[in-house]
Amino acid sequence: MKKILLSVFALLTVFVLTGCVEIATTTTTEVTTTTTSGTGTTAKVVMDLPDEEVTILFWHIYGSGKTALLDKFIDEFEAMYPNVTIESQSQSDYNTLREKINTGIGVNQVPTMALGYPDHFAGYVQAGAAYSLNNFIYSNIRYEVMDSTSTIAGEFVDVSLDLENFVPGYLAENNQYVGGQYYSMPYSKSTETMAINRTVVKQHVAAIRAAGIDVSDEGFFSHTTPLTFTQVQTLGTILLNDTATTDVANFQCGYLLNYDSSGNMFINMSRQFGAPYTNSAGEILINNDTTKSMLNYINAMFTSRTFVLPNQFGQLYGSTNFKYGDICMTVGSTAGVLYNIPTSLDVAANLKFGIFDVDFLQVPQPVATSGQAVTLSDGTTNYNFTGSLSSVQQGPNIGIFKNASTNEKLFAWLFIKYITSAENTALWAMDTGYLPVRLSAYTSDVLIQLTPTFSTTYVDFLSIATDYWTADGDVDWAATDERWDYLHSSMVANIAKNQALYYQYDPAFPAGSSSAGSATIRVEAGYCLENIYNKSKTPTQALAFLMNQIDW
């Protein structure tokens, strides 16, 4: 027995020691230099860039529509680092990707790097498989590229990353994990914006102004200041028909404001109302008086048809009924913006307002600036709280796994730095419809060929919408001008840029022994609002049901 125990102990010791050892294969020359950055003076250790052959396995879920640009980035990166091969593999969908990684962790079969949502990374962190990117972000190492065949031969490459350049909300999402470490970096990000039927608004400009809301002659609201909930309710008195059917003659809709994602609606309005929701430690804080008050307010808005969910129409999204004129405004993902635009391809008989003009605004907020006390009213009840500006940020991030070798991790990190550089994140955003992850991308002057005959920089791309808004819609572009094709994408990009200042993230954590994980809670929170909308439960019952579903 003693011998067996000793053998087991010896084996364990060997395994533990083997796990701790990482053989450095890099240093050939070390020179210490001092450089001055914007944040101060940092001593840099200069080393030769490792030249051993490295293969990086990158798992994502992008289909052929998005891999073309990703493949271009990979080709460029491999030309910069000729000893590196990046194998980019699509794993079909996010669930498959996460399941394969979770299963592979147990048998040490995980990729070098992967795309994933925050709750995926929270699970990888908990399993001890994710690698802390702080090791790179705050590194003082600078490599000299010695390979003469490299496109950057003789240049120096810093391992560290200037985080000040990134959208703050994205950073907050990616270092929410244990110890405030970065286990991922933002990549394909999106948010929600609000599409509005400008043709309908234009018919009511006088009434809207009389109600104290700024609107241009052509029906444009402010694109820099979001509408408040009180203003949305006021618009309801003007734009809503007395019944739930659209009144085409009087330019009034049956429903005012649709929220595509009931889960996002719950979470974002919790932030706006200052109602505790969850935290990254996995604590469920939903059952509180402010949330109850918020649910009562939402219920009142549902009843008055001020708010509506796609369930009303048997749909997953409100875009179809927005195009049909059943809804005047709709909040949805920036990635799905074009689904809201009526075109000649739609069945004409369904478009109650024909092919109308669509504008995009920031999502409605309770207050103009965060921290203000506010009182909302549904006509009979007042709802008092301290409001905050909040809009959702969503979309996957990229992280690196621990089991990769030192050099694999290093080049995976350099690849992350490369694809999230200001120029490349701007290219990615224009090509895919996602949003840039760096603020500096908004001023990028790198040209991207959007069509064989149309190239633009991100700055010029943004100015398509701003020019249009400045001219109150009266631009002298020819009908064949390709800017028309990008007008709505540009509108959304501008709105997202303005909202970037108050992005909030959904705390991510895996399921625990006593509660569901953040992804499940989001789904159940959505069901909570749907139960209230369907009148199958009162707000109190819906909240109790939600708690029962997520808190075991």
Binding site: T55, L57, I61, Y62, G63, S64, G65, K66, T67, A68, D71, K72, I74, D75, E87, Q89, S90, S92, D93, T96, E99, K100, T103, G104, G106, V107, Q109, V110, P111, S188, S190, F313, G314, Q315, Y317, S319, T320, N321, Y324, S333, A335, G336, Y339, T343, L345, D346, V347, N350, G395, T432, G433, Y434
Partner: protein, 310 residues
Amino acid sequence: MAEVFVKNEKSYKVQKIISNVLTFSFLGAIAIVVLVPFYWMILTSLKSSTMIESIPPILFLKPSQWQIWNYKALFEIVESGPRAGQPLFPFFTYMKNTIVISIITTIGTSITTILAAFAFARLNFKGRDIVFAIIIATMMIPGEIFILTNFLTINKLGWYDIMNQSYSDAIFAMTLPFMTSVFYTFYLRQTFKQIPNELYYAAKVDGTTDFKYLLKVMIPVAMPTIITIIILNSMGAWSAYIWPAMVTTKDQFRLVSNGLRGAFTDSGSGRTDYGQQMASAALVTAPLLVVFFVFRKQIMRGVSRSGIKG
């Protein structure tokens, strides 16, 4: 007396008509329930995205309204960029993999099933019934439970090396765990047991080996059951989803069922191009329909014998 007879005959005719009406109405209703999904799949594959969104839904389309584009798009080739020359949706690669997997799995299952069923039905060895009972008991365990253990086995065998998985590794990984079936073994054993012992003893007297007896007598006699097993197993392999997705590392190794899942969903908005997805699903279903029509007699015979369906 004659009046009573005429009355009874009339009553019988009325009863028969009512019975027929009820029977055919019921069968018609069931047929509609079965056929509507197929019809909807074909209809959706011929719609544009705006037609798919249309409320109320469009139930019929004139041929002039058909959007054949959904089918054409499946075979489009990327014109420029690093993936130039490659198909936008690797339909033929997925189909080839699916066919290969179906054939290998079916051959493997048939061999193991026939041999196991023969052993349990005909050969006498110690503990035969206990072993068979234990094997049958595993049918009570849901298949999903085996995923993790199968995954560990495949990994130990070196067929799930995510950095270097070869095509043959992927094929072995996808097929090996499904080359046996307890249910089919049980099903075939019951058929084998119906073959009279006298045939076996007569063959033995003639000096026939067990294996020759299996080949020359038992398999031909049980051929309808074996064909049913082959058809049902190949249909199961054709629609396999979770396991192939789990053990393949590269896109080009996947089956068409996995390809259909994510290929038409926009990763940003999460919206699916149902037109293209249904066009692809229709093309995937077509070979199964052909198999069904060609072998419908055998399938129906198998179904009526066993009370199972695919």
